[in-house]
Amino acid sequence: AQRVTQPEKLLSVFKGAPVELKCNYSYSGSPELFWYVQYSRQRLQLLLRHISRESIKGFTADLNKGETSFHLKKPFAQEEDSAMYYCALRFNQAGTALIFGKGTTLSVSS
């Protein structure tokens, strides 16, 4: 069965420190991977997707098929990055639903 695992419930870092939010998936085919973010009192929104290979708000994520991982990274965390981050997998391109991990709360303090 398809599964997304985010091993950390909470990640606390200081401003300016590097951040890595871990995501591992289980799926035998070619998945599409996403990171969604939910800031306090805001809607869940797309942060980035692996097929775009883009950097959003300084965050990047690389799909590693060998390790079945899609870790989210940022070299220098900012306080405004504090939020809940969800890794998600879509297992085909027919617009089907996303399978989400349980989320990681990132807390950045000064």
Partner: protein, 115 residues
């Protein structure tokens, strides 16, 4: 244009009562999804509608849960004989389907509390 809207924003109901949650997707989006967000469980897929195709109901936790999508637009999620474990935030999302790259746009959610 307006984003995905959901109503009510909060709903408190007694155990055993039925509830209806409404979702208005973004105009023109053919795909509509319902998810449930609860503490410790993260986001769970419930049901997915794509155009005129039969919905994917594989995520519905029990036969007390059902959903409709009328006219390819508004959707209603119905929970019958509510239980305390149904307490959660119910999120609706819509997308252009695969043609739009699959990005899903989420509503603000309905917080359901079963007492």
């Amino acid at each position: 244009g307006a984003g995905v809207s959901q109503s009510p924003s909060n709903k408190v109901t007694e155990k055993g009562k039925d509830v209806e949650l409404r979702c208005d997707p973004i105009s023109g989006h053919t795909a509509l999804y319902w998810y449930r967000q609860s503490l410790g469980q993260g986001l769970e897929f419930l049901i997915y509608f794509q155009g005129n195709s039969a919905p994917d109901k594989s995520g519905l936790p029990s036969d007390r849960f059902s959903a409709e999508r009328t006219g390819g637009s508004v959707s209603t999620l119905t929970i019958q004989r509510t239980q305390q474990e149904d307490s959660a935030v119910y999120l609706c999302a819509s997308s252009r389907g695969w043609q739009g790259g699959g990005e899903q746009y989420f509503g603000p959610g309905t917080r359901l509390t079963v007492t």
